[in-house]
Subunit: 157 residues, 2 copies
Amino acid sequence: MIFSKTFGYALRGILYIALMQDEKRFVQIEEMAQKLGVPRHFLGKIMKRLVKEGMLLSVKGPYGGYTLSDATLQMPLLRLEDLTDGLGTFNNCVLRLRACNATNPCPLHFQMERIKGDLRRVMETTTIADLLHKDKKEFINSIATYEFDGSMLENEN
Amino acid sequence: MIFSKTFGYALRGILYIALMQDEKRFVQIEEMAQKLGVPRHFLGKIMKRLVKEGMLLSVKGPYGGYTLSDATLQMPLLRLEDLTDGLGTFNNCVLRLRACNATNPCPLHFQMERIKGDLRRVMETTTIADLLHKDKKEFINSIATYEFDGSMLENEN
DNA sequence: TGAATAAAAGACATCGTTGTCCTTTATGGT
DNA sequence: ACCATAAAGGACAACGATGTCTTTTATTCA
């Protein structure tokens, strides 16, 4: 499936935080989980991890929550993938053969190196900020899980 | 990681069988597992599945084992991927959003549709037979797991 | 018919991912 | 100081992918 669920939750979480920065300094996990339709405690674990890795800032207590810096907005998606899924997709043989390389290629080596190269390029050259340029409401819909029928988020903002 | 271990084992198993067809009518699971460096019983399960799906033929008892038809050699890799991993990679949003599509795209939709399209094309247009054209010994090395130093398979054939 | 061989079948174990729950720690407001 | 809030931390559960083991079924050969 290319990415883990963890990566998906992490990216959507970060995007949601980024999107809310003009409204509030900190976003709470509860709000994120509800708006995104994601398991609350699992998302909490992921966020904690990202905080530890310096990708997010967190503040405990009332009015606390998560926030992110401009530096994070400029990070390539590859960095996030590294923190969640690791880079096995790019560093390992698709058939997981240890000895596979250009001089001793597995049967799929060259075809897949091309694909992996293309994918890596996207992940390297696309930043968090690059994903953000859109109408805010529409954007939130596009990262929420449920089948959106136009009625759910309208009255919250 | 793009493909599961199961897919890798399945493909390598099929390729090994295909490669042995000029020497013996049937290939035994024991031999496959040893030569490929793959867990024997797990490989057995996978082969059983492929037999049930019509991709392989099996015969029980002495001199029995697995064999495959020319039709199988002409099958695209996508068919094997479907039987093992399913086609979620192509049919689902990379972020697993149910509502994601061209008119309501997730933030990664268009970049990833391109990658997925490229990958799908490779899997659709490449057949088992396409992977086979090589020196036999060299080819077996290329699908064996261990780090090959030139000494391991030499005395077996 | 009996013995050996090999796949099929199914029970069970391990492990990583995903997910839940409860307790602890930090912070802000009163 | 006390209370409420919210993240951090850790224990544990559920599940699917992966892997092992034993029994059953089919086939060959003598």
